[in-house]
């Protein structure tokens, strides 16, 4: 299914912490990222793609456009999705992640705003976030092509035009051409996969020094 990227504005991360940021010893374990779509009308969300950077758990809340005039409520569409099976070790820490519409808890039909809530309970990591965030909506369905009339309404079989003298029978020519084509396809398909393995350039392998680039 095709997808189309939706331009989004990712606001800076906000750390949620109890107490004063400067005086307390620990680092924040919860970050919130707001994603707005200033130039796009409420759309149907298809996919969220990002690169993880040491975030352990992800929750997503969405605010949808409502038909009434009241502003939409925030609804949780993904709760505590685990990105790192063990928050203290490296597994999953830098992976690319794709989240789809069908994994969400609620309908994503008219998305106005997204809020990503990142949690990293382990004190081992200096910082954590998600990077390269991209939102996709449903792409246009493949345009229904209008078939040319002669494909959908085949003309009833006509009598072939009378053969011009001297020319070979067209049906015989076409069957011979087809046989030749089949032969070339066979040869193309059956060539051995073993490579020759040339490592020199035209027989010359005179090298000076190794290159660092």
């Amino acid at each position: 299914m095709s997808r189309v990227s939706v331009p989004c504005h990712v606001k800076g991360t906000v750390a949620l912490q109890v107490g004063d940021v400067r005086t307390s010893q620990g680092r924040p374990g919860v970050l919130v990222i707001d994603v707005t779509f200033p130039s796009v009308a409420p759309f149907e969300l298809q996919e969220i793609v990002f690169k993880n950077y040491y975030t352990a758990f992800l929750s997503i809340r969405v605010r949808q456009h409502s038909s009434t005039h009241t502003p939409g409520k925030w609804v949780t569409c993904l709760r505590d999705y685990c990105l790192m099976p063990d928050p203290h070790s490296e597994e999953g820490a830098q992976e690319y992640v794709s989240l789809f519409k069908h994994q969400m808890l609620c309908d994503m039909a008219r998305v106005l705003e997204l809020r990503l809530i990142l949690r990293q309970p382990s004190p081992l990591w200096v910082s954590f976030t998600v990077e390269e965030l991209q939102i996709y909506q449903q792409g246009p369905k493949s345009p229904s092509m209008t078939f040319p009339k002669w494909l959908s309404h085949p003309v009833p079989c006509e009598q072939p035009a009378p053969l011009i003298e001297g020319l070979p029978d067209p049906s015989r020519v076409s069957s011979e051409v087809q046989q030749m084509w089949a032969l070339t396809e066979m040869i193309r398909a059956s060539h051995t996969s073993t490579r020759i393995g040339r490592f020199d350039v035209d027989g010359c392998y005179d090298l000076n020094l190794l290159s660092y680039t």
Partner: protein
């Protein structure tokens, strides 16, 4: 990790380049016809050649690589100055996920106490009717059916000596087709036509390691035949798709910077280090035909051995193996670990060389082949780390009494009398934790 691998590779390239310029030997040159003829005649006895290799030195040794691994740091990892739960007591400071003993027990379930093993249940005291005969019969059936998946499952309990060569070929998917033999002959021609600096490194390595080993010196000629061809084999370049390393590049003389004259050096992209020839030596016991021996070694390399000398976060990569070893030792032999650390003998400094060589040259050959059976069966190198920890556990009493790194090394210098499978079984399944 990738950055570290990149800078490590740069160091190796610099070292090779400086060797090149110091000795004024080109990286590669075409052999004159007379020399080509001479080499062709001597092909089966290259060991008798005694070229002057005194000026060559190996590009790097395992202990240099260990220093690089010890210095791996994640910039996002908070280590803190004071000792806390987050400090790694061992040498490796990267918090990769490694299996603990319950997970290892599940992974290596066929090594359990209630399952028959070759290496334990085929000893002379055990009557063969109990396990060995039946196991051999099943092995013959697996070979007759040519079932690769069944072979991999079967070999977890060890392979009978008579069937081992065929079983390994089945698991590694090697069959000697005429085109494979032709390919090997083509590589041989490449060796004869071009002389590479890497060849001298290979010669030196074989002379330093395999030729001095009581078990392997007879195979010296085979080793040259395999390793020289290996470095001409461009199909090995394919494994860089899943290896964190990249092959070194060079340009044809006079055409620096022109992409159409860029080539890989050596043609297979792998620069041998001190001890590299030990990957091939045990295989010589199983295969006597050079082209088959070559294919088996190549497949073993691109499946397993390359992980032992490149930096990556793969669970079978050397960094994970080192961390697994240290974690096992710390968790299950804490007193020993603490004692060794106090006397300045970090256990990894001793066991690293065992793991990098997959224990080749340290264990007796029959024991080594039983170990490599399990590597193939479980498709993982983690068993090397488990065995290293098991060896420490076995010699723990002696190690508690040593007071220096040299003495610890002496206690663990000779592993040739060890029986691999009982050690593994006891460590995994019979140790009271």
């Amino acid at each position: 990790m990738r950055k570290a691998q990149g800078s490590w590779e740069k160091r190796i390239l610099k070292s090779l380049n400086s060797m090149c310029t110091e000795l004024s030997i080109p990286l590669a040159r075409k052999r004159p016809v007379g020399e080509q003829k001479e080499l062709l005649n001597k092909w089966n006895e290259m060991g008798t050649d005694e070229p002057d290799l005194s000026l060559f030195r190996p590009v790097y040794a395992p202990k240099d690589f260990l220093e690089v691994l010890i210095n791996l740091r994640n910039p996002n990892y908070e280590n803190g100055d004071s000792l806390s739960f987050r400090t790694h007591l061992g040498l490796i400071q990267v918090p990769l996920k490694v299996k603990d003993i319950p997970e290892l027990k599940e992974f290596f379930v066929e090594l359990g106490l209630t399952t028959g093993q070759l290496g334990i249940d085929d000893s002379t005291q055990v009557p063969p009717e109990l396990f060995e005969n039946e196991h051999v019969r099943i092995g013959q059936k697996v070979l007759a059916e040519q079932d690769g998946a069944a072979a991999q499952q079967y070999i977890r309990q060890g392979s009978p000596t008579a069937l081992r060569a065929d079983l390994w070929a089945l698991i590694l998917n090697i069959s000697s087709q005429p085109e494979d033999i032709l390919y090997y002959e083509q590589l041989k021609t490449n060796v004869i036509q071009h002389d590479l600096l890497v060849d001298s490194l290979i010669y030196k390595d074989v002379k330093l390691t395999a030729s001095n080993d009581d078990y392997y010196f007879v195979f010296e000629d085979y080793l040259y035949q395999v390793l020289l061809c290996f470095s001409r084999d461009t199909s090995v370049l394919g494994h860089f798709a899943y290896n964190s390393a990249s092959p070194p590049k060079s340009y044809i003389r006079g055409k620096l910077g022109l992409e159409e004259y860029a080539v890989f050096y050596p043609p297979n992209g792998v620069i041998p280090f001190h001890g590299f020839s030990m990957y091939v030596a045990p295989l010589c016991f199983l295969y006597h035909e050079p082209s088959k021996l070559y294919q088996i070694f190549r497949e073993m390399y691109v499946r397993f051995f390359f992980r032992l000398h490149s930096i990556s976060s793969h669970p079978s990569g050397i960094v994970s193996l080192c961390l697994l070893f240290e974690t096992l030792l710390q968790t299950y032999l804490p007193q020993l670990f603490y004692h060794l650390r106090e006397i300045g003998a970090q256990p990894l400094r001793i066991s690293f060389k065992w793991m990098v060589r997959a224990f080749s040259g340290y264990l007796a050959t029959d024991q080594l082949l039983l170990l490599w059976d399990r590597i193939l069966g479980y498709n993982s190198l983690e068993i090397l780390a488990v065995l290293a920890a098991a060896v420490f556990a076995f010699r723990a009493v002696n190690l508690m009494e040593v007071t220096s790194l040299a003495a610890a090394e002496a206690v663990l210098a000779d592993l040739s009398t060890l029986k691999v499978m009982p050690l593994l079984q006891i460590f995994l399944f019979a140790t009271v934790t």
